[in-house]
């Protein structure tokens, strides 16, 4: 942990959102010429994009357009897929994420992830699920874990619903609650970035609304990159939107702009529902 903080300049403390200046935002990610292959399949092609910190960046596009793959490159999760290969550069606050001395586990502590399918650990209680990332990274202090657990559950807007059932299994919650539990688990390690891979696509409209509200809340403290195939969701929650098609980045601009005055014909066709 210490090692990486020497290498990567730590972002401004995430807990002080009101102090964040209105001036030009720093870039959390600077991605240039990113290419990813799975075996023969060229899943992401020549993508270059800058993700400013403390904003919500949405990535939209039809299924199989490479948006999830792109997201997984940002915390090196795509490396877990056998036969995957990438080139290009991803800089996180200026530091090359793929530099040989970087431990992917350390990267993933700073860049958290929430998955499409909620996946609380079935052997653990609600409380244990939230603190697992801390406990399995060697933190034993009970009072600290307890505080962080409550704080994370409050941030995930789940505390009031589960505060009397903290010892119950995480999988006993409803689908929407499980997803918020997973968000609490991801923010308990206090990452600087949250990557969300279609976090609401398996939820009903009310649970979706809660998760979207939560994403909006979190964006004060976190840089969020969210993959979604729901364009309304992208337009509701995000500041910036990137449209991917067939592995390529077609257009990337402010969300308002992209949905009202798209520059590219393909973007216009997609957002107006002509394909995808």
């Amino acid at each position: 942990m210490e090692r990486i903080q020497e290498i990567i300049p730590k972002a401004a403390p995430a807990a002080a959102p009101q102090e964040s200046p209105a001036g030009p935002a720093r870039n959390a990610f600077e991605i240039t010429g990113l290419n990813v292959w799975y075996g023969q399949k060229h899943a992401v092609q020549e993508v270059s994009i800058n993700v400013p910190e403390r904003t919500i960046t949405a990535i939209i596009g039809p299924s199989g357009c490479g948006k999830s793959t792109f997201l997984r490159c940002l915390n090196r999760m795509h490396e877990l897929v056998p036969k995957s290969r990438m080139d290009g550069s991803i800089r996180f606050y200026g530091q090359d994420l793929y530099a040989p001395q970087i431990d992917p586990a350390v990267i993933r502590r700073r860049i958290g992830m929430v998955f499409q399918k909620s996946n609380p650990f079935p052997t653990m209680s609600i409380a244990e699920n939230v603190t697992v990332g801390l406990r399995l990274n060697g933190i034993r202090n009970r009072a600290f874990l307890r505080d962080r657990m409550e704080q994370s559950l409050r941030m995930a807007a789940l505390w009031d619903e589960v505060k009397d059932d903290l010892g119950k299994p995480g999988v006993s919650l409803s689908g929407g609650q499980q997803q918020r539990l997973c968000i609490a688990r991801a923010i308990a390690t206090q990452p600087e970035v949250l990557l969300m891979d279609e976090p609401a696509s398996a939820l009903d409209p009310i649970a979706t609304m809660k998760v979207e509200e939560l994403i909006h809340q979190l964006s004060r403290d976190y840089t969020i990159v969210i993959v979604t195939h729901n364009m309304q969701q992208a337009s509701r929650v995000s500041d910036k939107t990137a449209f991917f098609y067939m592995g390529r980045l077609v257009e990337f601009s402010d969300t308002d702009l992209l949905f009202t005055r798209p520059r590219e014909k393909q973007t216009e066709d997609y957002i107006s529902g002509r394909f995808g």
Binding site: M77, G112, N119, P122, T123, V132
Partner: protein, 294 residues
């Protein structure tokens, strides 16, 4: 295809018929088990008394005596086998499920399945040749002296356990959904901690079940012990010396010419079966709760 009433009657009759057939087949499978059990209890229960569990074997033709040393010997051998078989088997299973490349795994799995099919007496002969005859001497230190010993017996049973435990461990680990591994790794949890605390913990019941079933299997093995542990008629605290075991004692007594020993063999068989039965029942209890969520 019609939905007329006659058709319905026909289908119902056929359904009853086939159901009855399958039920009969099930009974046919269960019947031998029931017969063995009834027979064992009938023949064994008469000789089963406190002395059987506390006394040493009596001399040939002398009434009384028990199998206390053989019961203890079997427990010791199972203990030794566990020390070898459980860590090696579980770790092997973890490797197959979590770490190995598919080509290497295919090869290991293939070898494992061959090993599972090897007659258990082969293990007795192999350990006899590798351990009993030469002894185990590493860099001048005698680890296991030459000759029959509890160590050799435990080693033979342990080797028998490894492929069994390995395959069941692998099978339950691959049932753990991939999403849990991803979730843990995405939290920045190291790979080995993910494997131990997330994947193995999720499959803990299944792994334990596999271990217990393997133990139940080796507890009843006679053949691998014939050329390794050999058997003994007295208490033995020295693991470098031959040691008694229930299956061996049953084998010896059942082959003898004395009716009293025959009765004791039956009692021994009953105790052995009861022990294995208990292990299997505890497996049922362990697996009764919630299964691995897939």
């Amino acid at each position: 295809m019609t939905f007329s009433a006659t058709n319905h009657g026909m289908r119902k009759a056929l359904s009853v018929c086939v159901s009855a057939c399958t039920f009969l087949c099930a009974c046919l499978v269960l019947a031998p088990l029931g017969l063995v059990f009834v027979n064992l209890v009938q023949m064994g229960a008469r000789s089963l008394n406190l002395a059987f569990f506390t006394n040493l074997p009596a001399g040939p033709g002398v009434a009384g005596g028990g199998m206390a040393n053989a019961i203890a010997g079997t427990l010791i051998l199972i203990g030794l086998a566990s020390v070898i078989g459980i860590p090696a088997g579980v770790m092997g299973g973890v490797f197959l499920s979590e770490f190995g490349s598919s080509r290497v795994n295919w090869f290991i799995r293939f070898l494992c399945d061959i090993l599972n099919g090897v007659p258990s007496i082969i293990w007795g002969i192999v350990i006899n040749g590798l351990v009993v005859v030469p002894g185990v001497i590493i860099a001048g230190h005698v680890i296991i002296p030459k000759g029959f010993s509890a160590y050799a017996g435990g080693l033979a049973l342990g080797c028998l356990m490894i492929p069994l435990v390995m395959r069941t461990t692998e099978e339950v680990l691959v049932l753990v959904p991939h999403g849990y591994r991803e979730a843990a790794l995405a939290l920045g949890i190291a790979r080995w901690r993910t494997t131990v605390h997330i994947v193995m913990q999720t499959a803990a019941r299944g792994i334990l079940t596999g271990i217990l079933l393997a133990l139940a299997r080796v507890a009843g093995e006679t053949a691998p012990l014939l050329f390794t542990a050999l058997g003994d008629n007295f208490w033995n605290n020295d693991l470098t010396k031959p040691i008694a075991a229930l299956p061996l004692q049953i084998f010896t007594y059942a082959n003898s010419a004395y009716p009293d020993w025959h009765r004791q063999a039956w009692a021994g068989a009953l105790v052995l079966v009861a022990f294995i039965f208990t292990l299997n029942i505890s497996v049922r209890f362990l697996t009764r709760g919630k299964p691995v969520r897939v």
